[in-house]
Subunit: 117 residues, 2 copies
């Protein structure tokens, strides 16, 4: 008896943040901006992510309609992930954020992160 409970959001930014989820989805989206990638390619494109977490993220992003999963019935298996239009539009909306990060990266890296939290 799973209910498909709908969330409500206080504003657009709230909704966008919910879609981005944790710290990985944005990077995965970013990695896929230049075209489809196989599972292993995505993993290499997102340094530091564990296999299991990547799978979870990809599944969630597929469920939210951000990306498309194409399975090729081959051996060894081949699965390609690509952005949907929805995912592409989110990617575009995140671009300024990426630029902001680039511009301020030195300052951000200089933050004593262990003392912050």
């Amino acid at each position: 008896m799973k209910e498909t409970k709908k969330r409500t959001f206080t504003c657009g930014l709230d909704a966008a943040i919910a879609v981005m989820g944790g710290k990985w989805k944005g990077l995965i989206l970013f990695a896929l901006q230049d075209g489809p990638l196989r599972f292993g390619e995505v993993r290499r494109a997102v340094p530091g992510i564990s296999e299991r977490v990547l799978i979870l993220q990809l599944r969630e992003m597929e469920a939210t309609g951000l990306l498309h999963r194409e399975v090729y019935h081959q051996v060894p298996p081949k699965v390609e992930y690509s952005l949907t239009e929805f995912g592409d539009s989110l990617n575009a909306a995140m671009a300024p954020l990426g630029e902001w990060g680039e511009e301020h990266i030195e300052r951000i890296e200089a933050i004593p992160w262990n003392e912050v939290g």
Copy 2:
């Protein structure tokens, strides 16, 4: 013996996401965009956040240099939070994300979030 360990980031987006932290900092930034707010005002401007979490977020954002904390020595106490230039620039970079969320809010709310995770 706290070490001020610096993180490194794979790209600007990675860094920006780290600064935004969880699901609240973006909304707090957004709430402060029109000028300083007192603690209680921020809380009312960010529906759903608990007092404790708000305090933690504000402290972290102060530590990362996103906002400024001004204490007025009065009784009852008065503390005003305002964006720094740094915070303001991040806010500007998040604007497109907010707009994206607005545009797609119906679709986002229709996502069966309980089945996603």
